[in-house]
């Protein structure tokens, strides 16, 4: 089921333990070092190298420092536009979040299969994106209750709501607030999964049609291959947009916690 010939489009999402750590356990839980963990480490290391390279603090910035300053400036303007001056203290968090997701998405798209490695996108797993979403959501809750105390609940009753409408509006706003971490994590996870499945299905078309004969290979196979190239370009765009949307929605939610409304 859901296979085209011998090519299973879901196999790329399989999590496998690496380096013989299959049975490593801590307190009864398996903590094997998986390919997912490997790519998380890779994203963190690439981000670390990227930022360290731009920390020279020269008066006239070089290209590298310029690139880092452009990214931090981008996040800063995002936060100032959405949260205001009070948003500046979230720059480190939102910058790390944005760059980590962006690098994870892009590293998973690298054509490492050409040299025999298996690229893995850990943002295509709800466990990874869900934890990132819960992190953002708990920061919103902590900041909201820290700054405003129980007055934070006025978030669920918009200004100017007529008194008889409050019992109706309150549960609706509460549900739309509580569903935020799910929609935040789900959006990133599904967007990445759908793109990778689509690429694998098209790759299956190319291989199976080439196996079926020269005629099929030239008509179906080459058309699918050209489509794959276009979809790959689209996937790079989606990788950037999804990372941006995650950072943007995090800052919009932080605005609720910081300023109520």
């Amino acid at each position: 089921m859901a296979e085209s010939g011998k090519i299973d489009p879901m196999h790329q999402f399989a999590i496998e333990p690496l380096f013989g750590t299959d049975h490593l356990s801590l307190g009864g839980y398996n903590i094997a070092f998986t390919n997912s963990a490997l790519y998380m480490v890779a994203a963190a290391v690439v981000l670390w190298i990227f930022v360290i390279g731009g920390m020279k603090r020269e008066l006239v910035p070089g290209r590298w420092q310029m690139a880092v300053e452009y990214m931090t400036g981008f996040i800063k303007s995002l936060l100032i536009a959405n949260v205001g001056e009070g948003g500046k203290k979230y720059i480190p968090y939102v910058f790390s979040l944005f760059m980590f997701i962006l690098l994870a998405n892009l590293l998973g798209l690298l054509p490492l299969g050409l040299i025999g490695l298996h690229p893995f996108t850990f943002t295509s797993h709800f466990t990874a994106t869900g934890v990132l979403a819960i992190l953002s959501f708990s920061i919103v809750l902590i900041v909201g209750f820290w700054k405003h105390g129980l007055h934070f609940f006025s978030l669920f009753v918009p200004h100017g709501t007529p008194l008889p409408m409050i019992p109706v509006i309150f549960p609706i706003e509460l549900v739309s607030f509580m569903v935020r971490p799910f929609s935040l994590g789900l959006r990133l996870f599904v967007a990445m999964t759908a793109g990778h499945v689509l690429l694998k299905v098209l790759a299956g078309f190319v291989i199976n049609s080439s196996n079926a004969g020269v005629g099929y290979g030239l008509t179906v196979g080459s058309a699918s291959f050209i489509l794959m190239i276009g979809i790959s370009a689209l996937e790079v765009l989606v990788a950037v947009i999804q990372a941006y949307v995650f950072a943007l929605l995090t800052s919009v939610y932080l605005n609720d916690a910081e300023n109520l409304h």
Partner: protein, 75 residues
């Protein structure tokens, strides 16, 4: 119709939702461009709202994809 066939049909029907969401996403960007070309000066300040609208419209299409995946692989 046996249960397996019904599941696959349901997964296929979920593609309608994904297609309708594509209309929504297209509408978000089309309306933005329409407004931005009339008043280019105000366009840059609205990019955040553009992407919030995009995210909201896109999420519903992605949910249709999740339903399809659940029907095929989980249910």
């Amino acid at each position: 119709m046996d249960a397996e066939a019904a599941k696959l049909l349901g997964a296929g029907l979920a593609a309608i939702g994904a297609g309708l969401a594509s209309l929504g996403v297209g509408n978000v960007f089309a309306s933005f461009l329409e407004g931005a070309l009339r008043n280019p000066g105000a366009a840059d300040g609205q990019q955040g709202r553009l992407f919030i609208g995009f995210a909201a419209a896109e999420l519903l299409g992605l949910l249709a994809f999740v339903i399809a995946m659940i029907l095929v692989f989980v249910a």
